[in-house]
C-alpha cells in the first residue's frame, strides 16, 4: 500500500512546480524608461533587541537614527512603473502608498508619493533622488511601535 505521506509530498512537489511556472509568467519584464520602486515596511519598537538581517546595510543607520531597540521587516514590495504611471502598495493597518514616477533628467528619479490610511491623507510629497537612492517615511503607529517605510528607487 503506497505511503500516503509520500504521495502527499509528491503531489505538493508537482503542484509547486506548476505554481512556479504561473508565477514566472506573471512577472513583468523590465522596460526602458521605467523606475523600479522598492518599498520595505519595517516595524520599529522597543520589544526585544532583534534587528532583521533582511535590512542589510541600513541596520546600523536605523540604530544611529532612532532609539528603538527592535526592527523587523513586515513586508517588502517592488513595482516597475513608467513615468506617469501610478502604482499602489498595500501597507499594514489599512494604509496604502501610491507612487508615481515624474519626468526627471539623467540618473535622477522624481517621485510623487501619497500615503493614506483609509480616506485620510497622511502625507503627500514630491521627492527627487538618485537611482539607487533611498528615503525613509515613518511615524504611523503600528502595534507597540511605529511603521517605517524604506523607499528606494532604481
Amino acid at each position: 500500500m503506497p505511503n500516503p505521506e509520500l504521495r502527499g509530498r509528491a503531489g505538493a512537489s508537482v503542484l509547486s512546480f506548476f505554481l512556479l511556472l504561473l508565477l514566472l509568467a506573471a512577472v513583468p519584464s523590465e522596460a526602458a524608461d521605467t523606475v523600479t520602486i522598492d518599498v520595505g515596511a519595517v516595524y520599529a519598537s522597543n520589544e526585544g533587541t532583534s534587528i532583521d538581517p533582511a535590512l542589510g546595510k541600513i541596520r546600523g543607520k536605523l540604530r544611529s537614527m532612532f532609539n528603538y531597540t527592535s526592527y523587523r521587516m513586515l513586508d517588502r514590495k517592488r513595482r516597475s512603473l513608467s513615468v506617469g504611471e501610478t502604482g499602489e502598495f498595500e501597507l499594514p493597518d489599512r494604509r496604502s502608498m501610491r507612487a508615481t514616477p515624474l519626468p526627471a533628467r539623467g540618473d535622477k528619479v522624481r517621485l510623487s508619493i501619497r500615503l493614506s490610511e483609509g480616506p485620510r491623507n497622511l502625507l503627500t510629497t514630491t521627492l527627487g533622488l538618485r537611482r539607487g537612492g533611498m528615503v525613509l517615511v515613518g511615524g504611523p503607529p503600528h502595534q507597540a511601535g511605529v511603521l517605517i517605510l524604506i523607499i528606494s528607487a532604481e
Partner: protein, 158 residues
Amino acid sequence: MDCGTALGKINAKADGLLPRQEEAELADHLAGCPACAADDAAISATGPVLRALTGIRAMRNAPALDAMWTRVRAGIDEGRDTRRRSSWLARWSWIPAAVVIALLALVFSPSRTDRPPFHPSSFEVAVEDVESDTATVALVDKGEDLPTVIWIIEDAKS
C-alpha cells in the same frame, strides 16, 4: 644568503617554524639588507596590526556584543515557533495553501522579503514639497551618511 631565501625564512619565522640556528643566520642577513629588514618588519607587524583593526571594531560594537546572548536566545525562540508552525502546516494544509498562493500570484505582483538586503548607493534626497491633511510632518536630515527621514506625527496622537 640571498634575498629570495631570506624571504622564505622570514615567513617560516612568522609561522614559528624556523630552527634557532637559522634564525641567527637570518638576523645576520637582515642586519645588512634594508629591503629584507623592511619585509621582516612588515610581516611581523601583520598580526598585531590586524588585531588592532579588529580591536577597534570590537570596541565600537561592544554594547551590541554584550547583548549577544539576548539576541541569540530571541532567534532560538523564533526558530522554535517557526518549526512548530511548519510541522503542523506541512501535514494538514498544503492543498488549501497551494490554492491561495495560486490566486495571489495571479492577482498581485511578486512580493518577497527574501531579496538581497538593502544596499542604497545614495542618501541624497531633494524634498520638493510635502503636505498632510491629518498630521504634522517633520523633515529630518542628519547628513549625507544617513537617510533623510520624513516623520509623520498624526494629529491627536503622540
